[in-house]
Symmetry: C2
Subunit: 505 residues, 2 copies
């Protein structure tokens, strides 16, 4: 009749529930490991103004294990942080308000845990920060029961080549044959959304090499403060505890929240029936509750700042689509920043048509969120809903089967993913309507293009049809008028050409 109680460490929790983080089987584990490592490599470069140069290697070893190695030219990891970054769950640099590929700060630890449980071997990390005099090489494992890193070895050498970046190597069991197709798709789509990156992959039966197609990075996101609309009581409580007890409420609001000046803060306090000069020490729990509620309801806040976001921009997005899909026509739209529940977001959409895109019964939808390709759970994603249910493509002169691809990219400090798997975006109304507007804008441009194509085709058909009679007509005219037949013929041909180039009849 009694139970045994115990505390689980975060490592042990995720070790036991690895499916939750995408490590559900030997195929998925390979895909997930590649993905986590690539995302970290990109975050370590592009977020800091460095054009990414990423090398991924995958080898099958004689004993049946896989060796996975990735190297980037990023900012590197400070030596003292390496053990924790790789060997302690819930330790990391992603816990700030800023768009990044990593969301849960869990990824690389899950890879290390999975490697450790399937081969028992440590992760090897080689890293140097910019201008570091030394290169550090660690071998790290995780003490699962205590959630602390165990350093198996450390080698320090002089950084004579002034290298900076991180190289991670580990051994795991996994099914490469089955994972290959997904990994390939993942890398291909990553190249699409990061046309400024050089990415290479060498693996059994698979060599991929994507050169940069542009030399320009989108502006990096800045770390921001939370928007007052996105607040909750717990957040307020933690903020209050970190502030001086004598701070007046108005100052507290100005200092802690995004886009709140003294004027707005006073206006809010007045509206909410709170004394702006009230000291934090006098706030009761019921005041916190009222404050949170009113902050969520107040309509006078400025929109959340989009400086925490880093959309690609229309030019880069179109370039990425062009380089990877090789279509005949491409157009891209980067919408103005918007927000839901205090979280800023930007939607970008590109349409590609023709060329190397194979015709299909429905549009090919390529989904991205914070520059992460989303490959699974398409059926429940908001973009697919918009593209297949809300848009009547005949309005835009698209007749299926058609060679049409739709690319959607949602950037936010808080992408509303449907699960930890980060594979589908929920249908938040604000995001849905932005996606729809973006798709329609692109689709209108596509219609113009298709109309032009149609006219060109029609003109060509007219030229051919009318051209058939040139011979007879010029002969007959010459007979009637006595003009030179050859001259008449060339004048007629000229006439047909000039008419048709102005767009048909």
């Amino acid at each position: 009749m009694s139970e045994q109680y115990r505390q689980l460490s975060p490592s042990e929790f995720f070790y036991r529930n690895r499916e939750v983080a995408g490590f559900s089987n030997p195929t998925r584990a390979v895909y997930q490991a590649v993905r986590e490592l690539v995302e970290n490599a990109l975050d370590a470069t592009e977020m800091h103004g460095i054009l990414p140069d990423i090398k991924l290697e995958l080898r099958e070893e004689g004993d049946g294990s896989l060796t996975l190695a990735i190297e980037d030219n990023g900012i590197g990891i400070p030596s003292s942080e390496v053990p924790n970054v790789f060997g302690r769950v819930f330790y990391g640099s992603k816990y700030v308000l800023r768009q990044s590929r990593g969301v849960f700060g869990l990824g690389v630890k899950m890879v290390v845990l999975y490697a450790q449980m399937t081969t028992g071997r440590p992760v090897k990390v080689r890293t140097a920060t910019a201008r570091s005099k030394f290169v550090y090489e660690y071998e790290v494992m995780i003490d699962v029961e205590k959630n602390i890193p165990v350093i198996k070895s450390l080698k320090i050498s002089r950084n004579d080549s002034k290298w900076h970046g991180t190289r991670v190597e580990l051994s795991m069991r996994g099914n490469w044959v089955q994972a290959k197709k997904r990994v390939e798709e993942y890398v291909r789509r990553t190249a699409l959304i990061a046309p400024y990156a050089r990415i290479s992959l060498e693996a059994p039966d698979l060599v991929l090499r994507f050169e940069r197609s542009v030399e320009k990075l989108p502006p990096a996101p800045k770390v921001g403060r939370p928007h007052p609309k996105g607040v909750d009581i717990e957040m307020l409580r933690m903020m209050v505890e970190r502030s001086k007890r004598s701070t007046p409420l108005v100052e507290f609001l100005v200092e802690n929240f995004d886009g709140v000046g003294p004027v707005t803060a006073r206006k809010f306090c007045e509206w909410a029936g709170l004394n702006p000069e009230m000291k934090l020490r006098d706030l009761k729990v019921s005041d916190l509750e009222l404050l949170a509620l009113k902050m969520q309801e107040f309509s006078g806040w400025r929109r959340p700042k989009a400086s925490t976001l880093s959309p690609l921009g229309e030019e880069l997005l179109a370039e990425g689509v062009r380089a990877v899909l090789n279509p005949e026509f491409v157009t891209a739209v980067s919408r103005a920043p918007s927000s839901y529940g205090g979280h800023p977001f930007v939607v970008e959409v590109a349409l590609a048509y023709g060329g190397a895109i194979p015709p299909a019964e429905r549009p090919l939808v390529l989904r991205f969120a914070n520059r992460i390709p989303l490959l699974y759970d398409e059926g429940v994603d908001v973009s697919v809903k918009v593209v297949t249910e809300k848009i009547d493509w005949r309005t835009y002169k698209v007749e299926f089967p058609a060679p049409l691809a739709v690319v959607t990219h949602v950037c936010s400090t808080k992408v509303p993913f449907k699960g930890v798997g980060k594979e589908a975006v929920a249908d938040v109304p604000e995001i849905e309507s932005e996606i729809e507007a973006g798709v329609r804008e692109c689709a209108r441009r596509l219609r113009l293009h298709l109309s032009r194509l149609e006219r060109l085709l029609e003109a060509k058909r007219w030229r051919v049809t009318v051209g058939k009679y040139v011979e007879d007509v010029s002969r007959a005219l010459s007979y009637i008028t006595n003009y030179d037949e050859e001259q008449l013929r060339s004048r007629l041909v000229e006439l047909i050409r000039s008419r048709s180039s102005r767009g048909g009849r």
Copy 2:
């Protein structure tokens, strides 16, 4: 060019990523909270041989918050454990090898966190263990940044009524109007799978009361040891660390694993090329790796024991279906224990037909896992796949639209859920084929029933048709034979009745 690193507490992680645990919006949060509290209440009773008596109350308060209260007659929580059980993430009693509704040991902490962030108020817990002289009433909050409980108040009173159980009450924001339908469905299905439970719910516009339809509990699951097939290197390492260094390998295997006797252990060592007398202290990392691999591959292990499981049994399942669905026909199958990757599992299936079940174009599938109703993500669940794709219902004389419901119940120490949401079971081949076998067995019984119905119907039709001629035939016979017409008629009627009761012509 540098990053800020920090450690997140488990509380803060889940506070930030509450969607992961199902708290994604005010509607889902209410459903999820009810569910977590009901599951804990059931685990605290049925798992310990107590017939559950569960009272759930939900009130809308004037300030817009919801008060949620649940009381059970379970084993109670030892007073000293209360703060941690409600106020510390990753602390609990679910971290043993045994079937239980709770899986992640996260549920109630997520409810407390959500309540705290939406209303700022503590959870109230009233509890007494069996034969406790006192009743303890705590008010607890979570210090999110430190992941420790904060006791707001504690009241101790004499337990004169010899009560035992737990009552939890909390305030949260949520959308009851929208959540109502789902909560109702959840409670209804819970009553189906737990016909031995008394469950009542009082909420705005919704009063439900399910009496026990049986007084018998299925046998409670026992805590078990892991099966050798489900081992990994990390698990072995932790087990080795907990053992004496001088233990011989063979003894280590016998002591730590399910169903491994000295004979099997020696046979395995021989097959794997390992010395059975080797001391644990001499095991190298490469030996651990080999050991794990060989243990997974060895085919000579006994099947995992099913004593860690607690299937309902055919009788209870049929009773639950009868009480809740009120069908004309019901049949249930509880399959023999099976296993996948070292995890034991049992599949139970029930079919219900006719009666109060409305006819529909496809079978109504009611899914359960470890006695938890699964309401969402039906499209990706293995049971739905079997029922709609693998079974041709015409084989079993079912013509749609038909009043058919299929109930599936998967019990396992490790149900392969597709996410933390615990809403869909993955299509593990072993489980899929057990479900299929169960459905087919039930469907064959349904076919017998439908054939019998068909024959009865046919016999009735025959009786009516033939009966029409009784009058004329008896009159004609009487005319020819001079027998009494009345006697002939009654003999004929008797003949028709006796023939048709033997099943038609």
